[in-house]
């Protein structure tokens, strides 16, 4: 029978099934970048390997179903971006007990000993956007009684917690005070917008020296709140380097974002999977939580390096960014 046979290990990669399980659709990167990066690299390294893909839509239960289903379909390696890092422990254990290897992806699984961990550093991301924004804010003058707003990610998302931690690390020691902070339910830009609009009534737009938003969506909501209050927009951070976010940077409305060309991480996960299948130890940059790990450093993007980091590196073509409305601004930054 096809089911149940799980002899695991180093029988060689050829013909193996490898699962790639992503956590949510709230952020676009997983289907736009991570998955293609993973699948093309896998195809390159092991043409007759079979990739399985699933996305858990932020549901722990759904992720568990998808994980079990991958095992039922005979996956030998599972690349897992956990919806919930703690809950994933049980998945890792059950896989490993059946001889299936697990690569933690994007978000770590601290309480389990995974076979490999590959990621951008979410806490590092938080620190990077925080540092950069604080610096920018300090360039101007912080009004007395003024300070920053923090628009964090979803309160039910562990990665958001890591970003938040990084942001606090940057901000708490900076000397710029935090006026208020908010966990954006479901990462929804509308929720961010409403909250920021409330703070504008509360403190006045002129007291808000800057906003650290945890991704481009919530950053966009923040900018819309300032725009519709009729005033000017203070520096606002972002993360993910979405087209919409990059466009706002080009237009001068958003201050920074993070470029994490996830294709690279996806590719690295494929490489690690093939290595594990053939019994080789994947290349590491060190250990995190006791597991061999490869961490990629994300790049902070502002107007200053947008052209070189994004356009010139071919991550997002100028044609996509410089639509009619942004053409003039692009020209100013000499992006074509």
């Amino acid at each position: 029978s096809p089911e149940g046979s799980s002899s695991g290990g180093a029988s060689g990669p050829a013909g193996s099934t490898v699962a790639f399980l992503m956590p949510d659709t709230g952020s676009t990167r997983y289907e736009l970048h991570d998955r293609p990066g993973f699948e093309s690299k896998l195809k390159e390294l092991c043409p007759d390997c079979k990739p399985l893909y699933n996305n858990a839509d932020s549901s722990v239960d759904k992720q568990q179903q998808q994980f079990n289903s991958a095992i039922a379909q005979g996956a030998k390696v599972i690349v897992l971006d956990p919806v919930d890092s703690a809950a994933a422990v049980s998945l890792v254990n059950s896989a490993q007990s059946q001889g299936v290897k697990v690569i933690a992806y994007d978000r770590p699984i601290p309480d389990a000993k995974v076979d490999f961990y590959v990621s951008f550093d979410n806490e590092g991301i938080g620190k990077a956007i925080g540092d950069s924004l604080v610096k920018k804010v300090k360039e101007g003058s912080v009004p007395s009684g003024g300070g920053l707003l923090l628009v964090n990610g979803s309160p039910t998302d562990a990665a958001a917690g890591l970003i938040k931690k990084g942001v606090h690390e940057a901000v708490d020691s900076s000397g710029v005070s935090v006026l208020a902070e908010y966990d954006t339910i479901d990462w929804k830009p509308e929720n961010a917008q409403k909250w920021v609009a409330g703070q504008i009534s509360r403190f006045g737009a002129d007291k808000i020296a800057g906003v650290v938003a945890a991704n481009d969506g919530t950053g966009g909501g923040t900018i819309a709140a300032f725009k519709s209050a009729g005033g000017s927009v203070p520096p606002v951070s972002g993360n993910d380097a979405t087209v919409a976010g990059l466009q706002l940077i080009i237009a001068g409305d958003q201050y920074n974002t993070i470029s994490k060309p996830s294709e690279i991480v996806g590719g690295a996960a494929a490489q690690a999977a093939v290595d594990l299948l053939s019994g080789k130890a994947p290349e590491t940059t060190g250990d995190v939580f006791g597991s061999p790990t490869k961490l990629f450093t994300p790049t902070l993007v502002t107007q200053d390096n947008l052209k070189s980091e994004i356009v010139d590196k071919g991550i997002t073509p100028a044609s996509e960014l410089c639509t009619s409305e942004y053409a003039a601004a692009c020209a100013k930054l000499s992006i074509q």
Partner: protein
């Protein structure tokens, strides 16, 4: 008023005298019996306002109330749509998806394909109408409960929204486009707002006077002139005060005016047309409506179409206000908030009872709570708890009032 008894005042068991005294005595009896119409919800709103004002005095500031009015408009329009399906005793769980899908369609056509904004909006609205019609037909031709049909729709249209937003996931709407301008920055010049208040009040007065004249002529009881004029004057004062207060900040948003006008139109359609009467009849007793010769299928279709259409319009307003259409547009609590708003405002989930104004009041309750919380520094966990508790308290007042009405034998 004629001295002989009005046609509808002859029964000796009626305790109301006519004229101003009758108005007063019947109002008093209504208060005693708990037949207070929208008063309890309004009291709930006042309590919410007092609590939040104490916690943070910014709550009732002009600046914040302007925000509140703008926040309310988009979800209010969707809730208004929900009223129609609830009136016929059905449900649409997919208004969130439809709103997000519409925003996505408009953004893709307008921004990516360079279509004229008006056309893009039209396409989105037509698609929404088709969706509504689909639910209607599934119900009337296949007997599929709207709960399940629209649950399927919730998923399917969310999928389509993701699909057409495609690789970018999020599309910025240009800040200078009409939609964004309308939703973010279009405010009535102060004099225009005052004029509008006057027009509303005058319209109300004329309508009531017309009714009064016709009823008096037909020898039916009619409210005394003083009561009619007094009501209109009160309305005028209230409107002008609200507008004046909002004008102290950014002013009266067009989006608010648009929403109010939609509510008035919907109210007219529900209460003053044959179609509206048919909605209530179908919701109250489908079989009786059918036996009265009402085209029940058409009534269902029209309700579903209107709900979807208004969901679409709400989605467009929301996208305009955010200046972006994205993957999460219309997801999360949009569905539940819209349905809850209608229910909190007093529209029954079981059909046949409700009002366009329920969408207005219910939305204000929900938006006021959400807005009030933005002004407090709270952990997310407490935010959830407080939202839940305040909602329960606000609605509890209304429930108690209704209960007292029921115990006084009123339906």
């Amino acid at each position: 008023m004629s001295t002989n008894t009005a046609l509808d005042r002859t029964d000796e068991r009626l305790s109301d005298s006519s004229g101003a005294r009758g108005v007063v005595s019947s109002s008093l009896r209504n208060i005693r019996d708990g037949d207070l119409g929208f008063l309890p919800v309004v009291i709930g709103l006042v309590i919410i306002a007092v609590i939040f004002q104490i916690l943070n005095p910014v709550f009732l500031s002009s600046v914040n109330l302007v925000n509140l009015t703008l926040d309310s408009a988009a979800v209010g329009v969707i809730a208004l749509g929900i009223v129609f399906v609830l009136l016929v005793g059905e449900i649409d769980l997919s208004v969130g998806s439809v709103s997000g899908f519409s925003a996505a369609i408009t953004a893709v056509l307008f921004v990516r394909h360079g279509l004229n904004l008006g056309l893009a909006v039209l396409v989105a609205c037509l698609v929404a109408c088709a969706i509504g019609l689909l639910y209607g037909v599934l119900l009337t031709k296949f007997g599929m409960p709207s709960f399940v049909a629209s649950l399927s729709g919730l998923l399917a249209f969310l999928g389509l929204q993701l699909a057409i937003l495609g690789d970018q996931g999020s599309i910025n709407l240009p800040f200078d486009s009409a939609l964004v301008q309308f939703a973010q920055l279009a405010f009535l010049p102060a004099p225009v707002s005052y004029a509008l208040g006057a027009v509303f009040a005058a319209g109300f007065l004329l309508a009531r006077l017309g009714v009064r004249r016709r009823r008096t002529r037909a020898n039916l009881s009619a409210p005394p002139l003083g009561v009619v004029v007094g009501g209109a004057v009160l309305l005028l004062i209230a409107l002008e005060f609200v507008f004046w207060y909002l004008n102290r900040a950014r002013g009266v948003g067009w989006m608010l005016v648009f929403f109010l006008i939609l509510v008035l139109v919907a109210n007219y359609a529900i209460t003053r047309t044959k179609w509206g009467r048919s909605l209530l009849a179908v919701g109250g007793n489908r079989e009786a409506a059918r036996r009265s010769g009402i085209n029940v299928s058409f009534i269902y279709w029209s309700a579903f179409v209107l709900t979807a259409l208004l969901a679409s319009v709400g989605g467009l307003l929301s996208a305009g206000r955010l200046a972006s259409a994205n993957l999460s547009s219309g997801t999360g609590d949009v569905n539940l908030n819209a349905i809850a708003a209608a229910v909190i405002g007093g529209t029954s989930l079981f059909g046949g009872r409700g009002s366009a104004f329920s969408a207005l009041l219910g939305t204000l309750v929900i938006s006021a709570i959400a807005n009030g919380l933005t002004l407090l520094n709270l952990e997310s966990s407490y935010r959830f708890v407080i939202t839940g508790v305040v909602l329960a308290v606000a609605v509890g007042i209304d429930s108690l009032a209704r209960r007292s009405r029921a115990s006084h034998g009123r339906a």
